[in-house]
Symmetry: C2
Amino acid sequence: MHVAEQVLAYLRENKERLLGQLKQFLAIPSISTDSSHKEDVEKAAQFIISYIKEIGFSDVELIETKGHPVVYAEYMEAGEDAPTVLFYGHYDVQPVDPLDEWLSDPFRAVIRDGRIYARGASDDKGQVFMHLAVFEAFMKTKKKLPLNVKLLIEGEEEIGSANLYELLQKERAKFRADFVVISDSGMVANDQPTILYGLKGFTGLEITVKGPNRDLHSGLYGGAVRNPIMALVHILASIKNEDEVITVDGFYDDVAPLTDKERELLNRIAGEDYEKTVGVPETVSEKGYNAKEHTMARPTFEINGIYGGYQGEGTKTIIPSSATAKITCRLVPHQDPVHIQQILVDHIKRVAPKGVTVDVKLEELSARAYMVEPDHPLIQTAAACYEKAFGKETVFVRMGGSIPVVEWLDQIYRIPIILLGFGTPEDNLHAPNESFPLNSFDKGMETLVYYWLKVENK
Amino acid sequence: MHVAEQVLAYLRENKERLLGQLKQFLAIPSISTDSSHKEDVEKAAQFIISYIKEIGFSDVELIETKGHPVVYAEYMEAGEDAPTVLFYGHYDVQPVDPLDEWLSDPFRAVIRDGRIYARGASDDKGQVFMHLAVFEAFMKTKKKLPLNVKLLIEGEEEIGSANLYELLQKERAKFRADFVVISDSGMVANDQPTILYGLKGFTGLEITVKGPNRDLHSGLYGGAVRNPIMALVHILASIKNEDEVITVDGFYDDVAPLTDKERELLNRIAGEDYEKTVGVPETVSEKGYNAKEHTMARPTFEINGIYGGYQGEGTKTIIPSSATAKITCRLVPHQDPVHIQQILVDHIKRVAPKGVTVDVKLEELSARAYMVEPDHPLIQTAAACYEKAFGKETVFVRMGGSIPVVEWLDQIYRIPIILLGFGTPEDNLHAPNESFPLNSFDKGMETLVYYWLKVENK
């Protein structure tokens, strides 16, 4: 373990400088969904390029797409016999609204109570930076990496990896590796080593109900004209009931029943204290399943946004001309996202009340759920390294999040995908006051150092 | 009818100049609900003051309130034996959003196809101005008005006449008259003389559902945390069904059943062609009632606005922290607005799903419905004058709109309130492209000339 000690010592000695560089990375508002931030997204890509060139990656590319660019780099000097890992991450971030709920500027990282606060601190800039810092440490102390590395860091993960699939298809040979490592997920609790062996799939749509050709006086037209908001309400209420059961014909048809064994496995994990983490006194989950089972292993239907009519100060007595709801579903293995969209559309058209027209816009990007065998040696090795760094036994979980690239990599390469995430439930992903624990930063890097050395020696 | 001819000739000769003055009045963006327009609201009040001083009203006052001021003026020179009319109108207007749907600037009146287009053209600046122009014509041709006149023109009608009730209570003696005339309503069809004998009451509330203390990642929390938008949807769906029946216990308890006789009377009126006027192919009304019956004589429940979560471009996969709906009800005679609010609150609290908190904010201003006997001589006289000007028999209707001041004047003075409106169903009240037909302007003024002379001679 001499090498590991050297590399870890380097990381300890350079910690302040590395945190300073991470703060620079976090300062770039690379919000991929907002076209006014297009230049910032590219700036974040350029930040990575100059950093990895400095580390010693010689083969570095900015691959243009129809949207935001992909950063790609190779280090193949570990030799033909050494394994090759494809590391995937993303440098784009979620929007920051509502801005007034942030305690500090989302793009000016600050450290409070052992956490670094900024948009992207956990998802995914902070975790991408950990990997790059570990590669730096190997290069600076040993002049080489323990294995061949391909870096694929994209700028469109938060908008569904809009152009990545096409690139992966086109460059199959280029990105080919023996296994994939991704750190874009979290641990079930602070300091609790966690390996994800399943991710949910994803699909979405937007429903717009159109009524009169303009907003109408509610006194003169109330009683004659269908209110588009109320029509939308009736449509939405018909999709999921108060028991959190999705009441659309066929929605659960392809869902494999949760076995007693898996149920027991999932329930072994310490649950999140939702009152503490998100301020809800009571969890609510699908009838017959608890919160752990539903978030990890059952599909969901969520209204992400709704709008229609008057939203200003005071009262405006109108029947509005339209109303819209934005919807996404998280899917489990065997559910087909396109089929799910179709049965939702069929249902919506069937229940749409008369007197209004209903338009459904399908989200183009979707992903199937992903699952891997937790017994795979590369996963078991990761679990052991994780345990060594954190001093605690690794748990294996499925999670409700979706990473489309996981499904695509699985589909194209059929190689193991190791989901090694160091976030925590308190990270406020996609929300105001996103943060990442410095403890995860340190122990996460330690885990990676052990892992690359173990993989090298296999 | 010599006098009438003289006065009408004056109105014809001065038509262009009068329209020019109306355009100046319409150019003032007196949006009472928007505090950034406070000065404009006062400017509209000052416009009236200088105009009525110029006409010859000597006793003119700007009465300050806690909100926007009231314009008050008296002309008592017709003598003690002459009847006194209280004319009520309002100089404030509705907001103009969505602005991009206006074909011309809402505050730059233009005439197209025989209509004058501007915010307030019909509701109520245009109709207030008609009355003032008729008083001008009498003053300029006869040096006097045919009866005593009290003008009460407020600036808060579009925000529920927030401070008027207190003023009416305080100045009971000052505003006392023999009857009231209001032109803040419409005819059932263009050129169809219409007298309103019933108005709906009004009440409102705002429901906010609060869930997690911030927006959450829908993958990590979907299945554990109640979505506040979906909770709001279930609450709203439980209040009114797809048959447009309000399913809240006790909501219809005080509603007098519609008699066969009134039903027949209401159905005699030519119906509005809703496809033509507002672009809906099909009317939708309470089960058991047609659109005419529901709009005129049955209570309504309308969602005026809804919002929650992400409304921007693209997708944001969140469970939002809250969702809000703005609601107003139109009530019929015998329904008590405060009691209706209470039973709505009781219902909402009862059906609120677990896992969220529900706050209900009550709209402070409300009004009971109003009805008057259509046989009253002052109403029959108005109907005859209306018919003489328009050449068509007057119809008597109830309408779905609410004018709180009508209820208050009825409650305080118990005098006849003559609702003489000249708007049309095509006026786009409270909506983009509000307009008023020039034909109503001419024949409406003619009706008023006949009416004041008939009332003088009674």
